[in-house]
Symmetry: C2
Subunit: 311 residues, 2 copies
């Protein structure tokens, strides 16, 4: 989803990190239609963890690489081997392939996640708080961060890892991420459909819109390497709100009728997972580096209405 939206932005911007885009190569495990663009776009359906695939990607010697691929949290938890293969082996294969093509030293933007953090948490997580993941997905993402830092330090590429907050409002169908309800309680009522809220309205979490997520990726691609320093992975800003505040923002945007479509149906299994999620982040370093997110959940709903519902 983020990859598709990033591609749309690249196609419309025709530039990245202040340089015109000459060509764009897109790779995914599932088939997709290439976008129409004013520069060359090539596509590839393949699995980066399969032999030879990463090496062929590394041989392309791109200037900027966005590594967004991966198996999401719910699936990585349900299928241990699949998660490690995609999120660890795939990432390492790609990093090693770039290492072997030492002619170029590309900027590599890696999508990590706030899933690297595990309870117990302070109320606000600062940039020095240690990540101790409590899921296989979070462990895999954090291992990718460590590889990125070491490979960058060794000069194989110029990496930046982004711990993305929960992306909300996620368009389309729910995926297997346990955080799906944060989006569906907004997206479905705005489309006149019922949505289930499986947790208490008190739950606080940090969100950024898909539009902000794309903004983060583009900003990371353009950051001077020296400004980032030795710690290459950044916890990004977002909007920290309770579910109740989300619902009140929905009420302001779409009225009581929309809110009435949310059915509270507590699911102890989901609640147990969400209890171990972080709530608020300081994100001081990322803010100082110029990463910008929405400042209210109303803005997040507005971004969804503008980008997905034609305003």
């Amino acid at each position: 989803m983020i990859g598709r939206k990033l591609t749309e932005r690249l196609v419309s911007d025709r530039a990245l990190a202040g340089q015109p885009i000459a060509s764009l190569h897109l790779q995914d495990v599932v088939a997709f239609d290439p976008p129409a663009a004013e520069f060359t776009v090539t596509t590839e359906t393949s699995d980066v963890a399969d032999p030879g695939v990463a090496d062929a990607l590394g041989a392309r010697e791109a200037d900027v690489i966005f590594h967004l691929a991966g198996v999401v949290s719910g699936e990585a938890e349900a299928d241990f081997a699949k998660g490690y293969r995609a999120n660890l082996d795939g990432t390492r294969a790609l990093f090693d392939a770039i290492r072997r093509h030492e002619a170029t030293k590309p900027r590599l933007v890696y999508a990590s996640s706030i899933a690297v953090y595990g309870a117990p948490f302070p109320t606000v997580i600062d940039d020095d708080f240690q990540p101790v993941p409590l899921t296989s997905y979070g462990s895999q993402k954090l291992i990718g961060e460590l590889l990125l830092t070491d490979y960058t330090r060794r000069g194989f590429f110029d990496g930046v890892g982004l711990r993305l907050p929960t992306i909300c409002v996620r368009p389309g169908k729910p995926n297997r991420a346990a955080s799906g309800f944060f989006s569906s309680i907004i997206r479905e009522p705005l489309a006149g459909k019922e949505a289930v809220l499986p947790v208490s309205r008190d739950v606080v979490h940090t969100h950024a819109s898909p539009r902000s997520a794309v903004g983060f990726l583009l900003h990371a691609a353009a950051l001077p390497s020296d400004a980032i320093g030795a710690r290459r992975n950044l916890t990004l800003p977002g909007v920290a709100v309770s579910v109740d505040e989300q619902i009140e923002a929905l009420r302001r945007a779409a009225g009581n009728a929309a809110v009435a479509l949310i059915r509270e149906e507590p699911d102890p299994a989901v609640a147990a997972i969400v209890d171990f999620w972080p709530q608020r982040f300081e994100a001081k370093r990322a803010r100082a580096l110029g990463f910008v997110a929405e400042t209210s959940f109303d803005d997040i709903i507005r971004a969804h209405v503008e980008d997905e519902l034609d305003g």
Copy 2:
């Protein structure tokens, strides 16, 4: 070195975690003589990263596994591929082999290192301070910790990772660890030989004797899993002293003549590495779990004299 000393203790104790030892299997990449023992001892010279080796080890279905193997910091920095192969691929192959033999759920004691920490540091590092390694060795050790935590959480084995402080006084010849001088400035003068001090006497670092290191491993093997909790990797206690305090302890143990054998020869390359090393650790969790180290550097010298120099 630690493996050899641990073996000696197991042979003399004839018990581990309160149970008599029925048999002991020893594996290393270099050939070694099996110790004489009152229980069965088998040995194996092999590389755990080679195909099939880890699987055969996993099939042994041990009750307790000590994973001490690895390429040391200096070598992992000098040979990128060798370090990742031994410290990441080897560790993961072993963990995966144990996972495949689900009949047993062994206690796995993993030797990690304070090299997981990277500057900037607070004066005293507490248990919540985030590890950000600044070497390939530290990155590999931390990735092993993350795998250990996740594999333990998934129920594949019952892991404990130990962030060992610098082991001092290390007997025998120097290895390729950059921390070697901490030992040689004590060991060599005690043997009537010259030693070079490549850093300032103000440098503060945390040490534990080889005897304490073996004690840590045995204690970890016996810890109840519930007492450890979700965070499976422990920063261990040690003696935090300046090089000057080390030297004064040497003077108390062996007089001015021994101290006169230390030649100060500042090496900017070593100093640059040591500047990025942590100084002091709180080690609250490990102390609460009963891990015990020396309380003074005099004790550390005494342990060396007793264990290596026949008192």
